[in-house]
Symmetry: C2
Subunit: 291 residues, 2 copies
């Protein structure tokens, strides 16, 4: 079996961001921590930590960290039936899209995390990149738009989010004075999340437009809504994120015909144990998405 003392040293160094603090937490000397990391690296034949510019795990180290998380999840299940093996909180590293985090995610998982004493490491990834993190063993679970699970994992469909191209009424009057049309679309500033915003591209091609458009880059869900509200552009915003603004009429769809639907799937490793099963159960029964 793996020497978990070594893995625990790695986990603690990363969590504490330093050998000295890790030593304090583990109750051993700093040089004992270094020695454990060195032993681990010799066994693996490759480094698990990069020291500069900042201390972080190598891809191999990250796989070990993920493995430790998986083991800790199993240990938590054990502690339910064997409370004497008391454990600190479980950590769960989850990749998810920024829009879910900005809308329904916390509502759905909040009580679960408090009740089960689970701490989350959230990683924001575009719908499509999350799955790569999963494949690389970097996360314990991911929420993304790809249906197909990676080898060793399962996926369940949670529902979909509806997106509309929203802007202020003033923006619509200024940029589409004669109503929505693709000629003016080519000149109207958009707000896009990143240089390769799939939703924006899907929206444009659904409109039958295949050129480029002037755009602000804004890698933040909340920033997106703020920029739209400030009249700077239109952006593909989840209906549920702009409910208040849609009701108040401060944001409107620049075209009524083009809502986009993004399916969301929950991916998680098989055999992750009861905590993951119950979290999956919480997510599937929440019913907060369009089905």
């Amino acid at each position: 079996m793996i020497d978990y003392k070594l893995l625990e040293a790695l986990t603690t160094v990363i969590e504490c961001e330093g050998f000295e603090r890790a030593g304090v937490v583990l109750g051993i000397s700093q040089s004992a921590v270094s020695q454990r990391i060195k032993t681990l690296e010799i066994r693996l034949g490759q480094p698990v930590l990069v020291r500069s510019p900042a201390l972080r795990a190598t891809p191999a180290g990250q796989r070990l960290l993920n493995h430790v998380q998986q083991v800790q999840l199993l240990e938590r299940d054990l502690a339910k039936s064997l409370p004497a093996i008391s454990e600190p909180s479980a950590r769960l590293r989850v990749a998810l899209n920024a829009d879910s985090l900005a809308t329904w995610w916390a509502d759905v998982v909040g009580a679960f995390c408090s009740d089960e004493d689970v701490l989350l490491d959230l990683v924001i990834e575009d719908q499509d990149v999350g799955l790569r993190r999963m494949r690389e063993g970097d996360v314990a679970a991911c929420l993304c738009s790809a249906p197909q699970p990676v080898a060793g994992a399962r996926s369940v469909h949670l529902g979909s989010m509806i997106y509309r191209p929203l802007a202020t009424p003033g923006y619509v009057r200024r940029h589409f004075p004669r109503g929505f049309n693709t000629r003016e679309l080519a000149e109207a500033p958009a707000i896009v999340f990143g240089p390769n915003d799939q939703l924006q591209n899907r929206f444009l091609s659904q409109c039958g437009y295949h050129g480029s458009v002037p755009h602000h880059l804004c890698p933040s869900s909340e920033g997106f809504v703020k920029l739209a509200l400030a009249g700077m552009g239109y952006g593909m915003i989840p209906e549920m994120q702009a409910q208040q603004e849609l009701e108040a009429g401060t944001l409107v769809s620049i075209t009524p015909d083009q809502p986009l639907q993004v399916e969301l799937y929950w991916h998680f490793w098989r055999h992750s144990g009861g905590v993951m099963d119950r979290l999956t159960q919480t997510l599937t029964s929440a019913n907060r998405l369009n089905s």
Copy 2:
């Protein structure tokens, strides 16, 4: 003088994310685009683009992109007095902290960007990292907490944001049933932005606590508020971001004594011309921050 045809090819390849699309935009063939990039790389003696895993600029290439942005800003000024030299929108790459983007930023700069036809490339960086981007020539301006400008740049003080450790009343009852104290602080789940969250560290040491605390990692301003509202932890949240929740009593400070103040400085290159001067003027006269 630099051959701007070459730089324009680089800018367009990055913006269009591909040689073929860049060719379409520039009205030249794909191989002519490649040739311009190659010529540029031969002159520089180093690559300006990395092709895999995704097409992106090398640090040298990024410096060129920034230079082009600076030149375009100057060209826009010129176009004001020489309207015949009509120009497409200026792009401005700005690094700023997530909390400013989630709160006051768009309100303040929105009208300016629409009126002056400026498009923003926003880069979210922790208060302290933004300045490094500035030094590396990666952004045209940055909003951060460091007062000292880098060589060739200026900085102006915009004011400060007030942060408080906010959680739900239910969370406070559960984790601090006997009132706020550092013994229970050690056990109470926090919400932190990233592995090296300066604000959280400042808060803990202001409380006289120097150990680690259980925490969720959540690299999103909006997610922060959502996790706090779901009772998952307390987080250092800007007062202005939680105004509604504070008034409604859905979020409260876990301790009344520890507000933290983060100063914000606007850094920009000297000689960036009138657009930058007017943007700076817009920011300094907005008066949306605590002074």
